[in-house]
Symmetry: C2
Subunit: 171 residues, 2 copies
DNA sequence: AGAATATAGTCTGTACTACAACGTAATTTC
DNA sequence: GAAATTACGTTGTAGTACAGACTATATTCT
């Protein structure tokens, strides 16, 4: 808390050459560009980007129940219900009753779901590369590190916004 | 085109320690955190963040017509219509007929609009600072530079996604 | 000049999405 | 074992984006 980075918080120098609010504009631009490429890459996926993210989370993080999944993704749980329905209908995931708690359901990927994810991950990685094509590898790595650090900070700082305990169980 | 940064595009090493799609997750997290703080900062503003961005763009970039404004903001023109209506109703901007083209309208801020923007910019800058509070000033500057560069690249690379000629007139 | 085409902005209807509110079943607390 | 809590699902509602049609002006072509 008493570290050096509290000093420049005097908000005299917001950001070099930025109009207040520009950060949002740039972030929005990046996210939109990303979305476009991402959506292209996962066109076969039901629910598009969201569907991919759900499947990816299920496979890589194995959230214990739907709450953990929705918290991780920042999706309202009532929304998650029908999103999962779509994936179930497509045969990509299943709702299996949790052994410890009969109210809860663990979402697990089917074999088909894993296969599809494996295929799509290649294309998603390529899309991410394409997004960052204008940056050299040093810059990409810097950006990745900063973005990762920031998002962790935020998810820690924001009280109710995104508990996301799912992550904490895994690191 | 023949510059060095094309070499690492072999997509063998997507991003250090990232699962494909993680970039989207981190970006989404940051954007959501940002939105929350931003929305708080501009609570008085009609249309919240969008309203602020419109007003800011009008004041700082002076787009010649609504098309330029909608392109810059990445908003559909039919949407822009009623968003502007809201700001007009609130007395923050006016539609003045463009002198050169009687079809077009230039959106200009009223005195009240400029005043409000001045007030809010302070709070928005503070919100941006708060978002980046976890980064030291070097990191913030790095991030700002990278984000800015990336968003410019993207807006250039994406064909129809965001023409945004408004920016080009100004740099 | 006059006809055809294009452009700026608006309006209308539609489809999607998030979310609040309520309901049900299972679990935990006291 | 009664009350409160939690996990999930369902329903209804409001907000939002977007396609399509429409008006007025501008431009282009012949």
């Amino acid at each position: 808390m008493a570290s050096t980075h509290n000093a420049p918080l005097s908000l005299d120098k917001p950001l070099p050459g930025f109009i207040p609010g520009d950060l949002a504009w740039h972030l929005g631009m990046i996210l939109r560009g990303h979305q476009t490429l991402f959506a292209e890459a996962v066109a076969e996926m039901p629910c598009s980007v969201r569907g991919y993210q759900m499947l990816s989370t299920v496979v890589h993080h194995e959230p214990a129940n739907q709450q953990a999944l929705s918290a991780h993704l920042g999706i309202d749980r009532t929304v998650l219900t029908y999103r999962i329905d779509d994936l179930v209908t497509a045969g990509l995931v299943e709702r299996v009753p949790a052994p410890t708690d009969r109210r809860a359901r663990k979402i697990v990927a089917t074999e088909q779901g894993v296969d599809l994810l494996n295929q799509l991950e290649i294309r998603v990685a390529a899309a991410e590369q394409q997004l960052l094509a204008g940056l050299d590898s040093t810059e990409s790595a810097q950006l990745a590190a900063l973005v990762s650090k920031l998002s962790m900070d935020i998810h820690r700082a924001q009280p109710g916004a995104n508990p996301c305990e799912a992550m904490d169980q895994l690191d």
